[in-house]
């Protein structure tokens, strides 16, 4: 019963949800979440996220049906509760509803439940659950006429897209489920009795959860592209299967379109950006400050709203988020000095939050303080190396820096004469991308007079490459990357990062075979690099090789799961 009663709203942090693609009329859409792009405030008219006990509901960038993110719902057996994504829309008591969403599970034998319900909530009764899908012993089942009926054996790491036409008056629905990579639907059923066989049963909400009763589920599953509406075109949306509408490269393209000439703040994509992990989430919940955090993140509250009474750690955390909000606004308003001050103050309060430091770097770039940009970037580079947001940020910095032709100078000049092995090793590590604060310290000690020149060389080269890409000089970018890789090889420096960049250029040129070859070469020195794995998965997708696409997707899951 504790699972029933001790409801704690502990996670509402989500980002939205732009409209889905297709030809749907937006006025006929009641619900549309793709979990990408802009912000969405949670609330009674939108959706709520319950990450109870140790279960979590969070955005996931690695496994998605479309766009850049899906929602990952992860339950933990025996933790006394279940995680839930719950959405609301205006009650519908007649007519038809059209339902569309995608799901993928990593753990088919662990239970999860998906339902559409009414004002009587998630109970089998009139105005309670209307439409209900659940997994049981590895099978997806529909609950129809008050009984679970097996539909098919669920495969792990495969996206399924559900389309339903729910007839409220008749108390029945048509159900079509597509599996990625297969043209023919795996389920196509008509006039199924609704969950409790009740005509006229009102619906006004949907829910995605782990298990309901026994608290035995260790499910991890993903949900994307949730749409509910009264327009039939919703269920005729193209299944972008086998897969995803947008690839890693689309983030780059979109950033290009939206980024202004002046460096702007990098957007947050998860609570970890703010140094908020399970422990902090629990502390915020316990202190009754969770909603304040969400309002701070969404810009609905400011620094002055942070109370003075909580424990100092939590207070610092909230203050930092408040400062971040003010800093982001200042940077957007081209008040870079103000922004820098706010981001630095935020970083001082929560050093483990990676987004403050990166935004401080972007502020410094806007202020043209290049030595400081390079120094600070080197200190945080390792945290950002596999982050989708780094390349556009580096390109922005590169565009602001302007004098990028220095990158060519390093290539044209003779190799450095570094007599000692220690110095050579430091430069090798620096250039291979293994940049850490410790390395920076050692570099300063070994090269007290020109350490920052070496640093600049590395960043300028990367930024030069990205600016060429940014300006659509892709062939030039590719050639530059090739020369860098050759030069690195000649100097005995690991050059996998440059192969990855060559792969990016080949991908943008549409040469997927070449991109594949280069990413695989890049992976040799970074076997678990999530950044390269996701790109390999995307290339295989583009090549129509779904087996390998899935193989690499599963590898990404492995890296996430082992965190």
């Amino acid at each position: 019963m504790a699972r029933r009663i001790q409801i704690q709203l502990i996670a509402l942090f989500c980002f939205l949800a732009t409209a889905a693609s297709g030809q749907t009329n937006s006025s006929n859409i009641l619900v549309s979440y793709s979990f990408d792009d802009a912000q969405l405030a949670t609330g009674p008219d939108t959706f709520a996220v319950f990450a109870r006990s140790r279960g979590t509901v969070r955005l996931n960038g690695a496994n998605r049906l479309s766009g850049y993110r899906s929602v990952e719902i992860r339950d933990m057996a025996g933790d006394g509760d279940f995680p839930e994504l719950q959405g609301y829309f205006a009650p519908r008591s007649k007519g038809k509803l059209f339902l569309h969403f995608g799901f993928m599970t990593a753990t088919p034998y662990e239970e999860f439940n998906i339902a559409l319900a009414g004002p009587q909530w998630f109970n089998l009764r009139k105005d309670g659950i209307g439409f209900w899908l659940k997994t049981r012993e590895g099978h997806l089942c529909q609950v129809s006429d008050s009984m679970p009926k097996k539909l098919f054996l669920v495969e792990p790491f495969v996206w399924y897209v559900v389309n339903g036409i729910y007839d409220i008056d008749q108390g029945s629905y048509d159900l079509v489920i597509h599996k990625e990579g297969i043209q023919k639907p795996v389920v196509s059923l008509a006039r199924q009795a609704n969950a409790s066989n009740q005509p006229g049963s009102v619906v006004d909400k949907f829910s995605f959860i782990g298990d309901t009763n026994e608290d035995k589920s260790n499910v991890t599953y993903y949900v994307d592209d949730v749409m509910v509406g009264i327009d039939e075109s919703i269920v005729h949306l193209p299944f972008v299967a086998p897969g995803r509408k947008k690839l890693f490269i689309d983030y780059w393209n979109e950033a290009q379109r939206t980024r202004r000439s002046q460096p702007g703040p990098i957007e947050a994509v998860g609570l970890a950006d703010f140094g908020i992990r399970q422990k902090q989430m629990e502390a915020l919940k316990a202190a009754g400050l969770w909603e304040l955090l969400l309002r701070l993140i969404n810009g609905q509250a400011g620094l002055s709203d942070v109370p003075q009474d909580p424990s100092s750690d939590i207070q610092r955390l909230l203050q930092a988020v408040g400062l971040w909000g003010e800093g982001a606004k200042a940077l957007r308003d081209q008040k870079a000095a103000d922004a820098l001050k706010r981001f630095d103050e935020a970083a001082a309060r929560v050093p483990s939050a990676k987004i403050y430091a990166m935004n401080a770097v972007l502020s410094l770039a806007a202020l043209q303080q290049w030595d400081a940009v390079d120094q600070r970037l080197s200190a945080i580079y390792a945290d950002w190396q596999d982050d989708l947001r780094l390349p556009p940020a580096m390109a922005t910095i590169g565009l602001a820096r302007q004098r990028l032709d220095e990158a060519e100078q390093w290539l044209r000049g003779p190799a450095e004469q570094i007599p000692d092995e220690i110095g050579q090793d430091l430069l090798r590590r620096l250039r291979s991308g293994a940049m850490t604060p410790e390395l920076l310290q050692q570099l300063k000690l070994r090269f007290p007079d020109n350490w920052d020149d070496y640093l600049k060389d590395v960043f300028v080269a990367e930024q030069y490459f990205l600016v060429l890409l940014w300006k659509h000089q892709i062939v030039d970018a590719e050639r530059f990357a090739q020369r860098m890789a050759d030069r690195y090889e000649a100097l005995g420096i690991p050059n996998s990062r440059w192969y990855e960049r060559m792969g990016d250029a080949a991908f943008l040129l549409g040469n997927f075979t070449m991109a594949l070859e280069r990413y695989e070469k890049g992976l040799k020195e970074h076997e678990q690099s999530p950044g390269i794995l996701v790109k390999l998965s995307d290339v295989y997708f583009r090549m129509g090789d779904l087996e390998n696409e899935r193989l690499y997707r599963e590898k990404i899951y492995g890296t996430i799961g082992s965190e």
Binding site: M1, R3, R4, R125, K126, K150, Q198
Partner: protein, 220 residues
């Protein structure tokens, strides 16, 4: 805004216990000994008992067997609130499933399904629902069958449904009524069964329910 979980049932006694327990601070360091458990049960400290883990269950069962009916009633309430499966708890509680002590009987009937998914729990509750001489006990046995069989798997529910459907044909109108109510709470529907309708009409609906059960079994 009111937010409600997937599974819902009101129970004032449980709510009172939970609310009571939530305002008190847990002390996880307390040892699982009889005296500690006795104190916690007496004070309704469900959260603290939960913090001690499932090791409290056999201790509570021993305590139950050594207690008077008033204490047993409180312990049965606590078993209910914990909602953990326990063979020891079931063994202790089921001995009182026919007790004439009203408070104890009700708490035992409610708690049994929350500590066990054994077939004999469903059987004894079905039996009480149909054959107990006291209409209150019959009614509350049906309540327990409707809402408190929380550990039953879909397969185990076959026996529950079969018993309730069979009780739709009971000669006692109140039994037909409560059996229908329990079935409705379990499945969300009545299939048009009216406990006061003429026999042929009722029989037709019972046949419909039996067909439903056959389909339910075929989907397992």
């Amino acid at each position: 805004m009111r937010i409600q979980p997937w599974v819902f049932r009101s129970c004032s006694a449980l709510l009172a216990l939970l609310i009571w327990s939530l305002v008190l601070k847990p002390d996880a360091s307390a040892a699982v000994d009889l005296n500690t458990v006795q104190t916690m049960v007496a004070a309704g400290k469900v959260a603290e008992l939960k913090a001690l883990g499932r090791d409290v269950l056999p201790v509570m069962a021993r305590l139950y067997e050594a207690s008077d009916p008033v204490q047993r009633t409180r312990i049965a309430q606590t078993f209910y609130a914990l909602g953990w499966k326990s063979a020891e708890a079931k063994r202790a509680l089921i001995k009182d499933v026919h007790t004439p002590n009203q408070q104890l009987r009700l708490e035992v009937q409610w708690a049994l399904g929350r500590v066990s998914s054994d077939a004999d729990v469903v059987e004894v509750l079905l039996n009480n629902m149909q054959h107990d001489g006291n209409p209150l006990f019959r009614d509350k046995a049906a309540c327990a069958l409707a809402s408190d069989q929380i550990h039953l798997t879909e397969r185990q529910k076959v026996r529950l449904y079969a018993g309730l459907i069979q009780a739709l044909g009971d000669p006692k109108p109140d039994v037909r009524r409560i059996a229908m109510l329990a079935l409705q709470i379990q499945t969300g529907q009545t299939k048009g069964f009216n406990p006061d309708a003429p026999i042929p009409e009722r029989d037709a609906k019972i046949r419909e329910w039996k067909q439903w059960l056959e389909e339910y079994k075929s989907n397992l």
